[in-house]
Every structure is written in structure tokens, then in C-alpha cells.
Symmetry: none
Subunit: 243 residues, 2 copies
């Protein structure tokens, strides 16, 4: 009995792609490595004839791609979102090279869907988009010119993960139950509301507090029970503040 | 004394490419991985505006590409030519996956120039062209659809070889200021007191709540500024609960 492919539940998320041609080429790149779940977040233009031409044998991947309005929707149900960016950020994220991240991505994919998230061709991932990811992954490149074409980056990422999967030995099964993206988003919504109520967070002048908390929680790799415990604590604070 | 980059003498040879756009995109792919020597064997069309547009930051690689009439000319002076093809051939060639071939390619590059040879977009390398190569290299792909775009194949090959050469320093994480043990202990003391005050934590029956929070925070690897932000939040909750 063969196990299912280790990279079955891996999806590719393209945030705000500008050029339909790149979306089509990314679909082809995915298909050659056995990946089929493509999601587009607010593409500037819908897939068109150029996209379909460049998708070539990845036409079905392109045709079945789901378009959503916000990154959180594209990450629904995932246990891990890996944001591809080589750029250093003020607020730190666990930053790994693709090669070192691949085993972690595969291990997470055994627990649930994993998203590989790529930003806009010109500007890459925004800090806000990266804030939804738990891991920052860099494709090492020549510092003199490190700008891979979007579909080329997707090709390299899918190649590396598919190659790692081929030699992937199943790790010990843990009884961890990772928080889903919904758990995490519900936690942050609750957290933000409680901090506003307490006066600690000024909604008119929020600064980078939520971004900071997102990064901290992202680094922790929250378990479902921990998300639940934090929300219980917030509910207790709220109840007491309202008395 | 630093050694010269291990992949300095590696050249990319495109045999009979049909589309100038693919040649430009291949030049960009090379450049991102630090490769600059591109040779074209009997391209159907000379590099044009589309090629230059797709070359992007690899414009110089494209502009300095040498065009020759026959594959033997493109391989002049090389100590190894590696032909990229996943197709089995009647006449046996040493066939390796890209990952397994990369160290051999790098070892050869210490002795002299090495060529990575890619065939036409549609038909790949002919048997005659492969006959000029000493090694056949396959990029493992989904048997259901294994046709990588030409520039995508060049990107993956250059990525794999550059990564094997480990010539790029790992990306740097931004400067972090980790929380000290005192910061952490003060945070937990504060956190526990606030939860007791809210009624969420019963000191007579604490369960494993603090242990759980400690483990979560330990995984996050807290920064000093984050510890400070969390304590500010707790203070705000306390002040509000006491009103």
C-alpha cells in the first residue's frame, strides 16, 4: 500500500499578481512537480488567453484556480503558510532558506494543508501579507540581482519540495494539533477587541502592535489548545473589565 | 584568500531555441543565480525586444550571449557537458538526477569550463546533440506532465548548482534583541497575577496553564520589545479591571 504523495495538500497562493502570463506559467510549473491547488488573491487581471497559453499542460491547474479577495481566505484551513521573500524585515520571522524549510513544510503537510505564498511580481509580499505567514522562506540568489521571475520562483519552490518529498522519511507522529488559520484569525480578532476595550490599543492610532503580536504567535507555531486557552483568558479579562 | 566562485566557469548552452522570450527569461534565471556565460546554438530567431524585456536584470547576460552555428562550437574548451533531458535513450548515457549530478558538475568546474546544455522547447535535445554530452541530467518531474518551460528548467538547474556550491551566504535575519531571563520571568509573574485577578486562573487549582504558556512563549523565542508590549497590555487589562 503506497502512502499518498507527501505534497498532496500543498497549495500555491499568488498574492496580487499583475500579469496573467505569470499566473499561467506558475500553473505549468506547479503541474510539472505534481502540485495542483492554485489560489489567486486579488489578481490585477483575471486569467486570460495569454495565461492559458503559458499554462500549457498546466491548463487544468489554471482553470481550477480559486480567486479570493483577501489573503486570509486563501489560507483557510492551512496549518502552515510559508511566505517567500528574501527581504529582511523589521519584525523578525523565522527565516529559512528553501532547502532548509522543505522538510518542515513536508512535515506540516502531514498534519494539514500548507500554503506556499508568493507576492506581487514587483513589490513582493507586503508586511501585512507576511504577517499571515508563519515562516519566511528565501530562495538564495545572487545579491547583485536576486529577482527571480514569479513563475520561476514557483518552479524552484515546487521542485525543491517535490525533491525533498522523494527522500522524505515520515517523522515520528506527534500528538500536536496545530491551530488552523481560522483559529488564529479568531484569536487575533478577539485579542484586538479586548485590547481596544482595555484602552491599550487605540484603534485610531494602532501602530504596529497587531503586526508584532502576529509575528510572535507565528514564531510560536500555535497549537489549537493554546489558541483556545488564550481566548479563554481574553474572555475572562473582558468579563471582569465589564463588571 | 577567497577561492573564486565554484560556478564561475559554468556556461549555459541553449540548442535551437524557438522563442526569443524564452532565451531572455533564461538569461534572467541565470543571472539570479550568478551565472553569466550564455551560448545559443542556431536559435530560430535572434534575441529581440521580447527577449530583452524578459531578461530584465539579466540584460547583460543576454547582450553578451554568443551565437554559434553548431553545438560543438558552443562546447569548445569545456571539460564536461551535461545534457538536460528526462527522456530515456537507446544509447545509454550516465543518467543522473540533477541533485545527484550537481556535485559532479561542481567538481568538474574546478578543472575547467562546464556546459549545461538544454534542447529545443518542443523537441528537447536530439540524440546527436546528446552525443556531444558526457552526462545526461534529469530534473525529476511528474510523469503525468514532465515538460518544464525552458527558462524554468534553466532556473532550477542554476538554483540546484548554486545551492550545491553554497556560494551564497544565508540571508540575515534582522537585528533581534532577545528578551532576558529576567524579562521572561517578570512577564510570567505579571501574566499569572492578571489571570488570577480576572478569575481565569484559580491559584488553588492552577492546572497546567502556566506550563502551557511557558512552552508557547519558549517556542516563540521572545524579543525584548515583545515582552514589554505584553506587559503593557496586561497592565492595561489590570487597570481596567480595577475601575
Amino acid at each position: 500500500m503506497d502512502p499518498p504523495p507527501a505534497h498532496g495538500p500543498i497549495r500555491v497562493v499568488l498574492a496580487r499578481p499583475s500579469h496573467p502570463g505569470n499566473v499561467g506559467a506558475a500553473a505549468r510549473a506547479m503541474k510539472t512537480m505534481g502540485f495542483t491547488d492554485l489560489r489567486l488573491v486579488a489578481p490585477r487581471r483575471a486569467p486570460d488567453d495569454e495565461a492559458r497559453a503559458l499554462a500549457a499542460g498546466g491548463g487544468e491547474v489554471l482553470a481550477s484556480a480559486r480567486t479570493v479577495g483577501a489573503i486570509a481566505e486563501a489560507l483557510e484551513g492551512t496549518v502552515l503558510a510559508a511566505g517567500f521573500s528574501a527581504r529582511g524585515r523589521d519584525l523578525s520571522h523565522p527565516l529559512r532558506t528553501l532547502r532548509h524549510a522543505a522538510p518542515d513544510i513536508l512535515a506540516a503537510a502531514r498534519e494539514g494543508p500548507v500554503a506556499l505564498v508568493f507576492g506581487n511580481e514587483t513589490s513582493g509580499l507586503t508586511n501585512e501579507e507576511m504577517g499571515h505567514c508563519r515562516l519566511q522562506v528565501a530562495i538564495p540568489a545572487d545579491p547583485a540581482y536576486s529577482s527571480l521571475n514569479l513563475a520561476a520562483a514557483v518552479q524552484v519552490a515546487c521542485y525543491e519540495i517535490a525533491t525533498a518529498a522523494a527522500s522524505f522519511a515520515p517523522p515520528q507522529v506527534s500528538d500536536r494539533m496545530p491551530a488552523t488559520t481560522q483559529d488564529i484569525e479568531a484569536l487575533f480578532a478577539h485579542w484586538e477587541a479586548a485590547m481596544v476595550e482595555s484602552g491599550y490599543l487605540d484603534p485610531a492610532n494602532p501602530g504596529r502592535l497587531m503586526e508584532r503580536l502576529r509575528r510572535m504567535i507565528a514564531r510560536a507555531g500555535l497549537e489549537r489548545s493554546e489558541a483556545k486557552a488564550l481566548r479563554g483568558m481574553l474572555a475572562a479579562f473582558e468579563a471582569r473589565m465589564r463588571r
